[in-house]
């Protein structure tokens, strides 16, 4: 419950960002970040909230690691705790089409 997952900001509207996580677009609250966030930035997200803007190169490395974790556990959600926690962070954000 204190894992954070990085995502790429696609669009910002007021204090809500559309964020891409491995091709899945979600809506993330920007109420908590302490600097301006723009399309193209990466943000660290926890329970549906961006908590920090992070450098792209670091975000990509973390995303690769988690992507591998999710792939290794595809269709096997109950098996791996870390993969399940990453998925929980994605479930925490609402779908972009809502």
């Amino acid at each position: 419950m204190c894992l954070g997952v990085p995502g790429l900001v696609i669009e910002v509207e007021d204090l809500v960002a559309t964020v891409d996580f491995w091709g899945v677009r979600k809506r993330i609250s920007l109420d908590l970040v302490d600097e301006p966030v723009r399309a193209g930035d990466y943000v660290l997200n926890h329970v549906g909230f961006a908590i920090r803007r992070i450098p792209p190169e670091d975000a990509r490395a973390t995303l690769e690691l988690y992507e591998q974790l999710l792939k290794d556990n595809a269709g096997n959600e109950s098996e791996d705790l870390m993969a399940a926690d990453v998925r929980s962070e994605m479930h925490a954000a609402n779908g972009a089409d809502r």
């Binding site: 204190c2 329970v47 290794d72 929980s88």
Partner: protein
């Protein structure tokens, strides 16, 4: 389960460096503590303990927010649920045992419990119903800031908050002073520090003369942070070192902090297994009494407390495990009466609980060679996690 390090060569270098520095400290064992379930997941998932030198113990402390939620707090949620209030909470809370049952037991008895992944989903849920909904809020400061933000935006009239949020810095003081733990340094959780900033640990270091290293969550982040912590122990340097600068600054996220402290005040209270922690619990300020479930409802705990906990629950050593003075393998119930499908204690329930993590990945796989050389190879090719996975 054969996830590899992104950079096995770097991992091996770090493990070798760690072995050398721990040997230079010149006494054994050296015990350090981390306070984060996500750290324990990475340590166990990637079999890091197999690559640690024998003279270094890395202990998980009270880093699982669900686990340290005390029984009377669970009881409050269970009592409200049994009183007919709809409860929305994070999934890990469902099966955490209270004095006489869990939220899952309340659900089986007819109560309505909704699992949410975000406090925002509790708001949506309340908007779709006329029923009274209580968001049973758990988690450390990383999660509490989200609750604060949502409260400041205004809740639907039928939604209130039962806060069991906890604040990590004060419990480090308690654990540092427990004579049984003999912890000589701490790894601080990178994402909590993203909010609080690393400067928050400076008064702690000044009081206790123990080094603190802020660590990220990837295996290499953790190894690098352990190397830094070992260096500080060898050099008798008590300070704060930030090994997660891509997310953590000295000041932290001031916007989030402002919202946190506008909504919550720290009060002393019990943490399961740790006893009383001054300023360790986050409660709603008087200004937000209108959305405080403890004020909106009369919570009838007496009816629950007439029932005694089961004898199995009384054998659970979850408290000692969270205090860092026992390991899951010390518990007679671990892997026998207590398994993820029918957990006895909170540590087997949560994905961040030490017992649950050790049950899945193995805790201390016995792969270390007799000589204290590192064994990153067996870590990186995945055999460590495989061999360690059956407790």
């Amino acid at each position: 389960m054969n996830l590899e390090f992104r950079d096995p060569v770097r991992a091996r270098e770090l493990a070798d460096t760690l072995t050398r520095i721990v040997a230079e400290i010149g006494r054994s064992p050296v015990s350090v503590m981390h306070v984060c379930g996500s750290h324990e997941q990475a340590i166990a998932r990637f079999g890091l303990r197999a690559s640690l030198p024998r003279g270094l113990n890395v202990i998980m402390g009270p880093g699982c927010p669900v686990c340290i939620t005390d029984m009377p707090e669970i009881d409050e949620g269970v009592a409200l649920a049994l009183q007919g209030v709809r409860i929305a909470t994070y999934g890990d809370m469902l099966r955490v045992p209270g004095t006489a049952g869990s939220l899952a037991d309340a659900r089986a008895a007819g109560a309505t419990i909704d699992i949410v992944y975000s406090v925002s989903q509790a708001v949506e849920l309340a908007r779709q119903t006329d029923q009274e909904v209580v968001f049973f809020a758990t988690g450390f400061e990383t999660t509490a800031v989200a609750t604060a933000a949502v409260i400041l935006k205004g809740l639907p009239p039928n939604l209130s908050v039962l806060s069991a949020h906890k604040y990590i810095p004060p419990v480090m003081e308690i654990v540092a002073e427990m004579p049984q733990t003999r912890v000589e340094g701490f790894l601080a959780a990178g994402h909590a520090a993203t909010i609080t900033g690393w400067g928050i640990f400076e008064p702690f270091v000044a009081r206790h003369h123990l080094p603190v290293v802020v660590a990220g969550f990837e295996p290499l982040d953790i190894l690098a942070a352990l190397v830094r912590l070992a260096e500080m122990l060898r050099d008798r340097e008590a300070s704060v070192s930030n090994m997660f600068p891509r997310c953590v600054t000295r000041e932290g996220n001031r916007n989030a902090q402002a919202q946190l402290w506008r909504v919550f005040r720290p009060i002393g209270g019990r943490w399961r297994g740790i006893a009383h922690v001054p300023n360790g619990n986050l409660r709603l300020r008087d200004e937000f009494a209108g959305v405080d479930a403890r004020r909106r409802f009369t919570i009838d705990l007496a009816s629950l407390w007439n029932r005694a906990p089961s004898s199995l629950v009384r054998q659970c050593i979850c408290g000692n495990i969270m205090a860092g003075i026992a390991s899951p393998s010390d518990c007679p119930l671990f892997g026998r009466e207590c398994v993820p499908d029918s957990p006895v204690g909170a540590c087997m329930v949560s994905s961040e609980g030490t017992c649950r993590i050790w049950h899945q990945y193995g805790g201390i796989p016995d792969l270390r060679p007799e000589e204290s050389t590192s064994c990153v190879r067996c870590v990186t090719d995945g055999t460590a996690t495989k061999k360690g996975s059956s407790p």
